[in-house]
Protein backbone atom coordinates (compact mmCIF):
# COMPACT_ATOMS: atom_id res chain seq x y z
CA UNK A 1 0.00 0.00 0.00
CA UNK A 2 2.71 2.40 0.97
CA UNK A 3 4.76 1.39 -2.04
CA UNK A 4 1.78 1.96 -4.26
CA UNK A 5 1.27 5.46 -2.89
CA UNK A 6 4.94 6.25 -3.39
CA UNK A 7 4.84 4.97 -6.96
CA UNK A 8 1.74 7.04 -7.67
CA UNK A 9 3.39 10.15 -6.22
CA UNK A 10 6.51 9.55 -8.31
CA UNK A 11 4.47 9.14 -11.46
CA UNK A 12 2.45 12.26 -10.72
CA UNK A 13 5.64 14.25 -10.20
CA UNK A 14 7.02 13.01 -13.52
CA UNK A 15 3.97 13.80 -15.63
CA UNK A 16 3.05 16.98 -13.77
CA UNK A 17 5.15 19.42 -15.84
CA UNK A 18 3.85 17.89 -19.07
CA UNK A 19 0.28 18.70 -18.12
CA UNK A 20 0.46 22.15 -16.58
CA UNK A 21 1.43 25.57 -17.96
CA UNK A 22 5.08 26.57 -17.72
CA UNK A 23 4.44 28.83 -14.80
CA UNK A 24 3.13 25.99 -12.66
CA UNK A 25 6.03 23.80 -13.70
CA UNK A 26 8.35 26.48 -12.32
CA UNK A 27 6.36 26.49 -9.10
CA UNK A 28 6.86 22.73 -8.89
CA UNK A 29 10.57 23.16 -9.56
CA UNK A 30 10.85 25.67 -6.71
CA UNK A 31 8.97 23.31 -4.44
CA UNK A 32 11.43 20.46 -5.03
CA UNK A 33 14.38 22.80 -4.82
CA UNK A 34 13.24 24.19 -1.47
CA UNK A 35 12.58 20.65 -0.26
CA UNK A 36 16.13 19.76 -1.28
CA UNK A 37 17.87 22.57 0.58
CA UNK A 38 15.42 22.03 3.44
CA UNK A 39 16.57 18.41 3.56
CA UNK A 40 20.18 19.56 3.78
CA UNK A 41 19.17 21.53 6.88
CA UNK A 42 17.14 18.59 8.17
CA UNK A 43 20.11 16.25 8.09
CA UNK A 44 22.11 18.31 10.55
CA UNK A 45 19.27 20.24 12.24
CA UNK A 46 16.59 17.57 12.27
CA UNK A 47 18.32 14.21 12.52
CA UNK A 48 21.39 15.32 14.44
CA UNK A 49 19.62 18.11 16.33
CA UNK A 50 22.24 20.76 15.55
CA UNK A 51 19.96 23.74 14.96
CA UNK A 52 21.52 26.17 12.52
CA UNK A 53 20.48 29.74 11.75
CA UNK A 54 23.17 30.11 9.11
CA UNK A 55 22.82 27.45 6.46
CA UNK A 56 22.94 30.23 3.90
CA UNK A 57 26.70 30.12 4.50
CA UNK A 58 26.83 26.76 2.72
CA UNK A 59 24.27 27.73 0.11
CA UNK A 60 26.20 30.86 -0.77
CA UNK A 61 29.58 29.14 -0.77
CA UNK A 62 28.18 26.63 -3.25
CA UNK A 63 26.64 29.29 -5.46
CA UNK A 64 29.75 31.45 -5.47
CA UNK A 65 32.26 28.63 -5.84
CA UNK A 66 30.68 27.26 -9.02
CA UNK A 67 29.93 30.70 -10.41
CA UNK A 68 33.47 32.00 -9.84
CA UNK A 69 35.01 28.84 -11.30
CA UNK A 70 32.76 29.17 -14.30
CA UNK A 71 32.79 32.91 -14.93
CA UNK A 72 36.30 33.79 -13.84
CA UNK A 73 38.19 30.58 -14.55
CA UNK A 74 36.17 29.21 -17.43
CA UNK A 75 35.22 25.88 -15.86
CA UNK A 76 32.35 23.87 -17.16
CA UNK A 77 29.52 24.29 -14.64
CA UNK A 78 28.95 20.53 -14.39
CA UNK A 79 32.55 20.19 -13.25
CA UNK A 80 32.26 23.21 -11.00
CA UNK A 81 29.29 21.59 -9.28
CA UNK A 82 31.20 18.89 -7.37
CA UNK A 83 33.86 21.48 -6.57
CA UNK A 84 31.15 23.68 -5.05
CA UNK A 85 29.88 20.73 -3.03
CA UNK A 86 33.39 20.01 -1.79
CA UNK A 87 33.75 23.64 -0.71
CA UNK A 88 30.37 23.52 1.04
CA UNK A 89 31.44 20.35 2.81
CA UNK A 90 34.72 21.91 3.85
CA UNK A 91 33.04 25.03 5.18
CA UNK A 92 30.52 22.87 7.04
CA UNK A 93 33.28 20.79 8.58
CA UNK A 94 35.31 23.90 9.36
CA UNK A 95 32.50 25.68 11.17
CA UNK A 96 31.69 22.44 13.00
CA UNK A 97 35.28 21.85 14.10
CA UNK A 98 35.63 25.39 15.42
CA UNK A 99 32.24 25.48 17.14
CA UNK A 100 32.20 22.01 18.62
CA UNK A 101 35.81 22.14 19.71
CA UNK A 102 34.85 25.25 21.65
CA UNK A 103 32.02 23.23 23.19
CA UNK A 104 29.18 25.29 21.72
CA UNK A 105 25.78 23.66 21.86
CA UNK A 106 22.14 24.50 21.28
CA UNK A 107 21.40 28.19 20.92
CA UNK A 108 25.04 29.18 20.86
CA UNK A 109 25.73 26.94 17.89
CA UNK A 110 22.67 28.36 16.12
CA UNK A 111 23.83 31.92 16.69
CA UNK A 112 27.42 31.32 15.64
CA UNK A 113 26.28 29.81 12.33
CA UNK A 114 24.27 32.97 11.78
CA UNK A 115 27.37 35.05 12.43
CA UNK A 116 29.43 32.94 10.02
CA UNK A 117 26.85 33.45 7.28
CA UNK A 118 26.95 37.16 8.01
CA UNK A 119 30.75 37.23 7.75
CA UNK A 120 30.50 35.51 4.37
CA UNK A 121 27.82 37.95 3.24
CA UNK A 122 29.83 41.01 4.16
CA UNK A 123 33.00 39.56 2.68
CA UNK A 124 31.23 38.73 -0.58
CA UNK A 125 29.88 42.27 -0.59
CA UNK A 126 33.39 43.69 -0.47
CA UNK A 127 35.71 41.23 -2.17
CA UNK A 128 36.71 41.69 -5.78
CA UNK A 129 36.65 37.98 -6.57
CA UNK A 130 32.89 37.98 -5.96
CA UNK A 131 32.46 41.36 -7.71
CA UNK A 132 31.15 42.82 -4.45
CA UNK A 133 27.58 43.98 -4.12
CA UNK A 134 27.08 44.02 -7.86
CA UNK A 135 26.72 40.28 -7.84
CA UNK A 136 27.78 37.89 -10.57
CA UNK A 137 26.10 37.22 -13.89
CA UNK A 138 26.50 33.92 -15.67
CA UNK A 139 26.48 34.36 -19.42
CA UNK A 140 23.38 32.85 -20.96
CA UNK A 141 24.19 30.01 -23.30
CA UNK A 142 21.31 27.64 -23.23
CA UNK A 143 22.91 24.30 -23.90
CA UNK A 144 22.71 21.32 -21.56
CA UNK A 145 26.51 21.08 -21.59
CA UNK A 146 26.43 24.50 -19.88
CA UNK A 147 23.95 23.41 -17.21
CA UNK A 148 21.39 25.68 -18.87
CA UNK A 149 18.24 24.54 -20.60
CA UNK A 150 16.07 26.06 -23.26
CA UNK A 151 13.15 24.00 -22.08
CA UNK A 152 12.53 24.72 -18.39
CA UNK A 153 11.14 21.24 -17.96
CA UNK A 154 14.68 19.94 -17.60
CA UNK A 155 15.33 22.27 -14.71
CA UNK A 156 12.16 20.90 -13.17
CA UNK A 157 13.38 17.32 -13.57
CA UNK A 158 16.77 18.23 -12.20
CA UNK A 159 15.19 19.74 -9.08
CA UNK A 160 13.02 16.67 -8.79
CA UNK A 161 16.06 14.41 -9.04
CA UNK A 162 17.89 16.43 -6.38
CA UNK A 163 14.88 16.12 -4.12
CA UNK A 164 14.76 12.37 -4.69
CA UNK A 165 18.43 11.99 -3.88
CA UNK A 166 17.95 13.98 -0.69
CA UNK A 167 15.02 11.77 0.28
CA UNK A 168 17.18 8.72 -0.29
CA UNK A 169 19.91 10.17 1.89
CA UNK A 170 17.36 10.84 4.63
CA UNK A 171 15.94 7.33 4.22
CA UNK A 172 19.44 5.91 4.49
CA UNK A 173 19.92 7.88 7.71
CA UNK A 174 16.88 6.19 9.23
CA UNK A 175 18.38 2.79 8.52
CA UNK A 176 22.10 3.19 9.04
CA UNK A 177 24.48 3.24 11.93
CA UNK A 178 25.50 6.81 11.10
CA UNK A 179 21.88 7.95 11.27
CA UNK A 180 21.25 6.09 14.52
CA UNK A 181 24.26 7.80 16.04
CA UNK A 182 23.06 11.22 14.89
CA UNK A 183 19.68 10.65 16.50
CA UNK A 184 21.37 9.47 19.69
CA UNK A 185 23.42 12.68 19.73
CA UNK A 186 20.29 14.75 19.19
CA UNK A 187 18.38 13.00 21.95
CA UNK A 188 21.15 12.98 24.53
CA UNK A 189 24.74 13.86 23.89
CA UNK A 190 26.12 12.52 27.17
CA UNK A 191 24.42 9.17 26.80
CA UNK A 192 25.66 8.97 23.23
CA UNK A 193 29.22 9.57 24.40
CA UNK A 194 28.90 6.92 27.08
CA UNK A 195 27.82 4.41 24.45
CA UNK A 196 31.05 4.82 22.57
CA UNK A 197 29.98 7.42 20.02
CA UNK A 198 32.67 9.88 19.05
CA UNK A 199 30.23 12.77 19.25
CA UNK A 200 32.60 15.43 17.97
CA UNK A 201 33.56 13.49 14.85
CA UNK A 202 30.00 12.50 14.03
CA UNK A 203 28.85 16.10 14.32
CA UNK A 204 31.64 17.30 12.06
CA UNK A 205 30.73 14.61 9.53
CA UNK A 206 27.08 15.53 9.47
CA UNK A 207 27.81 19.22 9.05
CA UNK A 208 30.12 18.37 6.17
CA UNK A 209 27.40 16.28 4.52
CA UNK A 210 24.77 18.92 5.11
CA UNK A 211 27.07 21.69 3.89
CA UNK A 212 27.90 19.82 0.70
CA UNK A 213 24.22 19.19 -0.05
CA UNK A 214 23.28 22.77 0.64
CA UNK A 215 26.12 23.98 -1.58
CA UNK A 216 24.79 21.77 -4.37
CA UNK A 217 21.54 23.68 -4.00
CA UNK A 218 23.45 26.95 -4.26
CA UNK A 219 24.99 25.96 -7.58
CA UNK A 220 21.62 24.80 -8.86
CA UNK A 221 20.11 28.14 -7.92
CA UNK A 222 22.88 30.11 -9.65
CA UNK A 223 22.47 28.04 -12.83
CA UNK A 224 18.72 28.49 -12.83
CA UNK A 225 18.73 32.26 -12.40
CA UNK A 226 22.19 32.93 -13.90
CA UNK A 227 22.72 35.59 -11.26
CA UNK A 228 23.71 35.73 -7.62
CA UNK A 229 24.54 38.51 -5.20
CA UNK A 230 25.67 38.45 -1.56
CA UNK A 231 22.21 39.02 -0.14
CA UNK A 232 20.60 36.28 -2.19
CA UNK A 233 23.43 33.85 -1.50
CA UNK A 234 24.24 34.54 2.15
CA UNK A 235 21.17 36.44 3.43
CA UNK A 236 19.29 35.21 6.47
CA UNK A 237 16.16 34.67 4.35
CA UNK A 238 17.61 31.50 2.84
CA UNK A 239 18.68 30.17 6.22
CA UNK A 240 15.25 30.85 7.65
CA UNK A 241 13.50 29.30 4.65
CA UNK A 242 15.39 26.01 5.05
CA UNK A 243 14.73 25.96 8.78
CA UNK A 244 11.07 26.84 8.39
CA UNK A 245 10.08 24.25 5.81
CA UNK A 246 11.83 21.57 7.83
CA UNK A 247 10.50 22.56 11.23
CA UNK A 248 6.97 22.97 9.94
CA UNK A 249 7.02 19.80 7.87
CA UNK A 250 8.72 17.74 10.54
CA UNK A 251 12.34 17.93 11.64
CA UNK A 252 14.14 14.60 11.74
CA UNK A 253 11.66 12.90 9.43
CA UNK A 254 12.28 11.77 5.86
CA UNK A 255 9.42 13.69 4.27
CA UNK A 256 9.32 16.69 6.62
CA UNK A 257 11.15 19.17 4.35
CA UNK A 258 9.11 18.10 1.32
CA UNK A 259 5.82 18.43 3.18
CA UNK A 260 6.89 21.81 4.56
CA UNK A 261 7.98 22.96 1.13
CA UNK A 262 4.74 21.87 -0.53
CA UNK A 263 2.76 23.72 2.13
CA UNK A 264 4.88 26.87 1.94
CA UNK A 265 4.82 26.94 -1.86
CA UNK A 266 1.06 26.43 -1.87
CA UNK A 267 0.44 29.25 0.60
CA UNK A 268 2.80 31.44 -1.41
CA UNK A 269 1.03 30.78 -4.66
CA UNK A 270 -2.41 31.22 -3.16
CA UNK A 271 -1.53 34.61 -1.74
CA UNK A 272 0.06 35.55 -5.04
CA UNK A 273 -3.03 34.45 -6.93
CA UNK A 274 -5.22 36.38 -4.51
CA UNK A 275 -3.05 39.43 -5.08
CA UNK A 276 -3.42 39.19 -8.85
CA UNK A 277 -7.19 38.99 -8.57
CA UNK A 278 -7.58 41.71 -5.93
CA UNK A 279 -5.11 44.50 -6.61
CA UNK A 280 -5.77 45.88 -3.13
CA UNK A 281 -3.91 42.84 -1.82
CA UNK A 282 -0.79 43.49 -3.87
CA UNK A 283 1.24 43.60 -0.70
CA UNK A 284 0.13 40.33 0.82
CA UNK A 285 3.14 38.22 -0.01
CA UNK A 286 4.58 38.58 3.49
CA UNK A 287 1.40 36.85 4.59
CA UNK A 288 2.77 33.39 3.89
CA UNK A 289 5.79 34.06 6.08
CA UNK A 290 3.56 35.45 8.81
CA UNK A 291 1.61 32.21 8.71
CA UNK A 292 4.81 30.24 8.71
CA UNK A 293 6.35 32.17 11.58
CA UNK A 294 3.23 31.54 13.65
CA UNK A 295 3.28 27.89 12.66
CA UNK A 296 6.90 27.64 13.76
CA UNK A 297 5.95 28.92 17.21
CA UNK A 298 3.05 26.52 17.51
CA UNK A 299 4.97 23.56 16.21
CA UNK A 300 7.96 24.01 18.47
CA UNK A 301 5.57 24.43 21.37
CA UNK A 302 3.00 21.78 20.61
CA UNK A 303 4.02 19.47 17.79
CA UNK A 304 7.78 18.96 17.84
CA UNK A 305 7.63 16.36 15.07
CA UNK A 306 5.92 18.72 12.64
CA UNK A 307 3.06 17.98 10.34
CA UNK A 308 4.66 14.76 9.20
CA UNK A 309 3.66 13.33 12.58
CA UNK A 310 0.02 13.95 11.79
CA UNK A 311 0.19 11.82 8.67
CA UNK A 312 -0.32 8.54 10.43
CA UNK A 313 2.75 6.53 11.27
CA UNK A 314 5.67 8.39 12.77
CA UNK A 315 8.57 8.21 10.40
CA UNK A 316 11.11 8.85 13.07
CA UNK A 317 14.54 7.41 12.88
Amino acid sequence: MRHLALAAALLAAVVYPLLVPNYLATVGMLMFFTAFIGQSWNISGGFAGQTSFGHAAFFGVGAYTSTILQVTYGWNPWLAWPAAMAMGGLVGAGIAVLSFRAGLRGSYFALITLAFAEVFRIAANSASITRGGLGMLIKADQRPINFQFKDQIWIYYLAFALCLVSLLIAWWLTRSRFGARLVAIRENEDAARALGIDVFTEKVKVLALSGAMCAAGGTFYAQKYLYIDPNIAFGIDKSVEMLLVTMVGGAGTIFGPLIGSIALTTINELTRAAASVFPALKNVQPLSLIVYGAMLVLIVARLPDGFASLLGRRRHA
Binding site: S107, A115, A301
Partner: protein
Amino acid sequence: MLDPQIIIAGVLNGLLAGGIYVLVAVGLTLIYGVLHIINFAHGSLLMLAMYAVFFLWRLAGLDPYVSLPLVTAGAFAVGFVLYRLVIGRFSHGKDENILLITLGVSIVADNLALLFFGGDTQTIDVPYAGDIIQVGAAFLPLPKVISCGAALLICLVLGLFMTRTDTGKAIRAVARERQGARLVGIDVEHVFAVSYGIGIACLGAAACLLMPTFYVTPQSGYAFVLVAFTIVVLGGMGSFLGAAVGGFLIGITESLGGLFLGEQLGQIGISLIFILILLLKPTGLFGSRA
Protein backbone atom coordinates in the same frame (compact mmCIF):
# COMPACT_ATOMS: atom_id res chain seq x y z
CA MET B 1 47.49 57.16 7.52
CA LEU B 2 44.41 58.85 8.87
CA ASP B 3 44.54 62.09 10.74
CA PRO B 4 44.35 61.41 14.49
CA GLN B 5 41.66 64.08 14.68
CA ILE B 6 39.48 61.96 12.43
CA ILE B 7 40.14 58.92 14.54
CA ILE B 8 39.19 60.79 17.68
CA ALA B 9 36.02 61.98 15.99
CA GLY B 10 35.35 58.39 14.96
CA VAL B 11 35.80 57.19 18.53
CA LEU B 12 33.50 59.90 19.83
CA ASN B 13 30.84 59.07 17.28
CA GLY B 14 31.22 55.41 18.16
CA LEU B 15 30.74 56.20 21.83
CA LEU B 16 27.57 58.13 21.03
CA ALA B 17 26.11 55.28 19.02
CA GLY B 18 27.32 52.92 21.73
CA GLY B 19 25.20 54.68 24.33
CA ILE B 20 22.02 53.59 22.57
CA TYR B 21 23.43 50.13 21.96
CA VAL B 22 23.96 49.87 25.70
CA LEU B 23 20.28 50.47 26.24
CA VAL B 24 19.28 47.86 23.65
CA ALA B 25 21.75 45.35 25.07
CA VAL B 26 20.70 45.98 28.68
CA GLY B 27 17.19 44.90 27.69
CA LEU B 28 18.52 41.74 26.09
CA THR B 29 20.85 40.87 28.93
CA LEU B 30 18.10 41.49 31.50
CA ILE B 31 15.83 39.03 29.72
CA TYR B 32 18.63 36.49 29.53
CA GLY B 33 19.75 37.01 33.09
CA VAL B 34 16.30 36.57 34.59
CA LEU B 35 14.51 34.21 32.22
CA HIS B 36 17.47 32.41 30.64
CA ILE B 37 15.85 33.10 27.29
CA ILE B 38 17.85 34.16 24.28
CA ASN B 39 15.41 36.64 22.84
CA PHE B 40 15.91 36.46 19.10
CA ALA B 41 12.89 38.73 18.63
CA HIS B 42 14.81 41.60 20.24
CA GLY B 43 15.74 43.30 16.98
CA SER B 44 12.31 42.89 15.45
CA LEU B 45 10.59 44.34 18.49
CA LEU B 46 12.98 47.30 18.33
CA MET B 47 11.99 47.72 14.68
CA LEU B 48 8.30 47.74 15.60
CA ALA B 49 8.97 50.34 18.30
CA MET B 50 10.80 52.47 15.73
CA TYR B 51 7.75 52.32 13.48
CA ALA B 52 5.61 53.36 16.45
CA VAL B 53 7.85 56.39 16.94
CA PHE B 54 7.70 57.11 13.22
CA PHE B 55 3.91 56.99 13.06
CA LEU B 56 3.46 59.04 16.23
CA TRP B 57 5.51 61.72 14.51
CA ARG B 58 3.86 61.36 11.13
CA LEU B 59 0.27 61.12 12.30
CA ALA B 60 0.26 63.02 15.58
CA GLY B 61 3.24 65.26 15.03
CA LEU B 62 4.95 64.03 18.18
CA ASP B 63 8.66 64.65 18.43
CA PRO B 64 10.51 61.37 19.14
CA TYR B 65 11.87 62.68 22.42
CA VAL B 66 8.38 63.73 23.46
CA SER B 67 6.89 60.36 22.61
CA LEU B 68 9.50 58.55 24.69
CA PRO B 69 7.40 57.98 27.81
CA LEU B 70 4.49 56.84 25.68
CA VAL B 71 6.46 54.43 23.50
CA THR B 72 8.39 53.08 26.47
CA ALA B 73 5.19 52.37 28.36
CA GLY B 74 3.63 50.86 25.25
CA ALA B 75 6.66 48.66 24.69
CA PHE B 76 6.47 47.46 28.28
CA ALA B 77 2.84 46.51 27.76
CA VAL B 78 3.63 44.72 24.51
CA GLY B 79 6.48 42.82 26.16
CA PHE B 80 4.38 41.90 29.17
CA VAL B 81 1.51 40.63 27.02
CA LEU B 82 3.81 38.86 24.58
CA TYR B 83 5.39 37.03 27.48
CA ARG B 84 2.05 36.06 28.98
CA LEU B 85 0.53 34.91 25.70
CA VAL B 86 3.41 33.37 23.80
CA ILE B 87 6.90 33.30 25.22
CA GLY B 88 6.10 32.25 28.76
CA ARG B 89 3.53 29.71 27.73
CA PHE B 90 5.57 27.98 25.09
CA SER B 91 9.13 28.46 26.17
CA HIS B 92 10.22 25.49 28.13
CA GLY B 93 12.43 22.55 27.42
CA LYS B 94 15.55 22.80 25.33
CA ASP B 95 17.10 26.22 24.95
CA GLU B 96 17.14 26.04 21.17
CA ASN B 97 13.37 25.58 21.24
CA ILE B 98 13.07 28.92 22.99
CA LEU B 99 15.36 30.42 20.40
CA LEU B 100 13.17 28.97 17.64
CA ILE B 101 10.05 30.39 19.23
CA THR B 102 11.51 33.87 19.46
CA LEU B 103 12.72 33.44 15.87
CA GLY B 104 9.11 32.65 14.93
CA VAL B 105 7.97 35.81 16.72
CA SER B 106 10.56 37.85 14.84
CA ILE B 107 9.53 36.37 11.47
CA VAL B 108 5.93 37.29 12.21
CA ALA B 109 6.90 40.81 13.35
CA ASP B 110 9.16 41.49 10.34
CA ASN B 111 6.57 40.37 7.84
CA LEU B 112 3.72 42.16 9.58
CA ALA B 113 5.76 45.33 9.22
CA LEU B 114 6.37 44.56 5.57
CA LEU B 115 2.68 43.86 5.07
CA PHE B 116 1.38 47.00 6.73
CA PHE B 117 4.17 49.51 6.36
CA GLY B 118 5.73 48.42 3.07
CA GLY B 119 9.40 47.95 2.39
CA ASP B 120 10.34 51.63 2.09
CA THR B 121 12.92 53.25 4.30
CA GLN B 122 11.28 55.72 6.69
CA THR B 123 12.96 58.61 8.45
CA ILE B 124 11.88 61.45 10.68
CA ASP B 125 12.85 65.03 9.90
CA VAL B 126 13.36 66.75 13.19
CA PRO B 127 14.26 70.44 13.00
CA TYR B 128 17.38 69.90 15.10
CA ALA B 129 18.66 67.00 12.98
CA GLY B 130 21.50 69.06 11.53
CA ASP B 131 22.58 70.80 14.74
CA ILE B 132 26.17 70.26 15.64
CA ILE B 133 28.11 70.78 18.79
CA GLN B 134 31.85 71.11 18.78
CA VAL B 135 34.02 69.15 21.19
CA GLY B 136 37.63 70.09 20.64
CA ALA B 137 38.19 69.52 16.96
CA ALA B 138 35.31 67.08 16.66
CA PHE B 139 31.86 68.04 15.49
CA LEU B 140 29.14 65.92 17.01
CA PRO B 141 25.53 65.84 15.90
CA LEU B 142 23.39 67.27 18.67
CA PRO B 143 20.64 64.60 18.50
CA LYS B 144 23.23 61.87 18.97
CA VAL B 145 24.63 63.60 22.01
CA ILE B 146 21.16 64.01 23.49
CA SER B 147 20.24 60.42 22.71
CA CYS B 148 23.40 58.99 24.17
CA GLY B 149 22.98 61.02 27.32
CA ALA B 150 19.36 60.05 27.63
CA ALA B 151 20.16 56.36 27.04
CA LEU B 152 22.72 56.38 29.83
CA LEU B 153 20.34 58.23 32.10
CA ILE B 154 17.68 55.60 31.46
CA CYS B 155 20.17 52.84 32.23
CA LEU B 156 20.99 54.60 35.47
CA VAL B 157 17.31 54.86 36.39
CA LEU B 158 16.90 51.18 35.56
CA GLY B 159 19.87 50.39 37.76
CA LEU B 160 18.32 52.33 40.65
CA PHE B 161 15.03 50.58 40.02
CA MET B 162 16.72 47.20 40.21
CA THR B 163 18.55 47.95 43.45
CA ARG B 164 16.10 50.19 45.31
CA THR B 165 12.56 49.00 44.62
CA ASP B 166 10.84 45.85 45.81
CA THR B 167 10.07 44.81 42.25
CA GLY B 168 13.69 45.30 41.27
CA LYS B 169 14.86 43.27 44.23
CA ALA B 170 12.38 40.52 43.38
CA ILE B 171 13.70 40.44 39.82
CA ARG B 172 17.26 40.13 41.03
CA ALA B 173 16.27 37.43 43.48
CA VAL B 174 14.63 35.43 40.71
CA ALA B 175 17.66 35.93 38.47
CA ARG B 176 19.95 34.58 41.13
CA GLU B 177 17.92 31.75 42.58
CA ARG B 178 14.66 30.88 40.90
CA GLN B 179 13.66 28.08 43.27
CA GLY B 180 14.60 30.03 46.36
CA ALA B 181 12.62 33.02 45.16
CA ARG B 182 9.62 30.79 44.63
CA LEU B 183 10.00 29.38 48.13
CA VAL B 184 9.97 32.80 49.77
CA GLY B 185 6.71 33.56 48.04
CA ILE B 186 7.75 35.57 44.99
CA ASP B 187 5.37 35.11 42.05
CA VAL B 188 8.07 34.00 39.64
CA GLU B 189 5.89 33.93 36.53
CA HIS B 190 4.84 37.51 37.22
CA VAL B 191 8.45 38.55 37.69
CA PHE B 192 9.30 36.89 34.37
CA ALA B 193 6.57 38.82 32.58
CA VAL B 194 7.63 42.08 34.21
CA SER B 195 11.28 41.45 33.35
CA TYR B 196 10.45 40.67 29.75
CA GLY B 197 8.32 43.82 29.70
CA ILE B 198 11.18 45.92 31.05
CA GLY B 199 13.55 44.40 28.51
CA ILE B 200 11.19 45.42 25.72
CA ALA B 201 10.57 48.82 27.34
CA CYS B 202 14.32 49.46 26.92
CA LEU B 203 13.73 48.93 23.20
CA GLY B 204 10.86 51.42 23.22
CA ALA B 205 13.11 54.06 24.74
CA ALA B 206 15.96 53.14 22.40
CA ALA B 207 13.63 53.49 19.40
CA CYS B 208 12.79 57.06 20.40
CA LEU B 209 16.45 57.89 20.83
CA LEU B 210 17.42 56.31 17.51
CA MET B 211 14.78 57.80 15.24
CA PRO B 212 16.03 61.39 15.14
CA THR B 213 19.20 60.20 13.41
CA PHE B 214 18.33 56.77 12.09
CA TYR B 215 15.94 55.18 9.62
CA VAL B 216 13.66 52.20 9.88
CA THR B 217 12.71 49.45 7.43
CA PRO B 218 11.16 46.04 8.12
CA GLN B 219 14.69 44.64 7.96
CA SER B 220 16.05 46.96 10.65
CA GLY B 221 15.42 44.31 13.27
CA TYR B 222 17.86 41.91 11.76
CA ALA B 223 20.55 44.59 11.56
CA PHE B 224 20.18 45.26 15.27
CA VAL B 225 19.79 41.75 16.55
CA LEU B 226 23.32 40.69 15.67
CA VAL B 227 24.75 43.89 17.14
CA ALA B 228 22.78 43.36 20.33
CA PHE B 229 23.83 39.72 20.65
CA THR B 230 27.45 40.63 20.01
CA ILE B 231 27.38 43.23 22.76
CA VAL B 232 25.78 40.88 25.23
CA VAL B 233 28.10 37.99 24.41
CA LEU B 234 31.12 40.28 24.52
CA GLY B 235 30.11 41.67 27.89
CA GLY B 236 28.99 38.31 29.25
CA MET B 237 25.44 36.98 29.04
CA GLY B 238 23.36 38.41 31.85
CA SER B 239 25.88 41.02 32.98
CA PHE B 240 24.74 44.66 33.12
CA LEU B 241 28.24 46.03 33.42
CA GLY B 242 29.16 43.82 30.48
CA ALA B 243 26.32 45.22 28.39
CA ALA B 244 27.49 48.75 29.15
CA VAL B 245 31.15 48.16 28.33
CA GLY B 246 30.25 45.96 25.36
CA GLY B 247 27.88 48.57 23.98
CA PHE B 248 30.56 51.24 23.87
CA LEU B 249 33.20 48.85 22.53
CA ILE B 250 30.91 47.76 19.70
CA GLY B 251 29.93 51.36 18.97
CA ILE B 252 33.60 52.25 18.59
CA THR B 253 34.36 49.09 16.60
CA GLU B 254 31.59 49.90 14.19
CA SER B 255 32.61 53.50 13.83
CA LEU B 256 36.31 52.80 13.33
CA GLY B 257 35.55 49.76 11.16
CA GLY B 258 33.54 52.02 8.90
CA LEU B 259 36.36 54.56 8.91
CA PHE B 260 39.11 52.13 7.97
CA LEU B 261 37.31 49.49 5.97
CA GLY B 262 34.38 51.39 4.51
CA GLU B 263 30.72 51.24 5.35
CA GLN B 264 30.22 47.72 3.94
CA LEU B 265 33.25 45.82 5.16
CA GLY B 266 33.28 47.73 8.44
CA GLN B 267 30.28 45.69 9.59
CA ILE B 268 32.33 42.50 9.44
CA GLY B 269 34.07 43.42 12.69
CA ILE B 270 30.91 42.89 14.71
CA SER B 271 30.28 39.38 13.41
CA LEU B 272 33.92 38.47 13.80
CA ILE B 273 33.95 39.67 17.40
CA PHE B 274 30.83 37.63 18.02
CA ILE B 275 32.42 34.49 16.59
CA LEU B 276 35.75 34.97 18.35
CA ILE B 277 34.17 35.59 21.73
CA LEU B 278 31.99 32.50 21.45
CA LEU B 279 34.93 30.38 20.34
CA LEU B 280 37.56 31.69 22.71
CA LYS B 281 35.83 33.08 25.78
CA PRO B 282 32.13 32.27 25.82
CA THR B 283 31.72 33.82 29.26
CA GLY B 284 32.57 37.21 27.79
CA LEU B 285 34.33 39.96 29.69
CA PHE B 286 32.18 39.96 32.79
CA GLY B 287 30.04 36.84 32.56
CA SER B 288 30.02 33.93 34.93
CA ARG B 289 28.22 31.37 32.81
CA ALA B 290 30.35 28.25 32.63
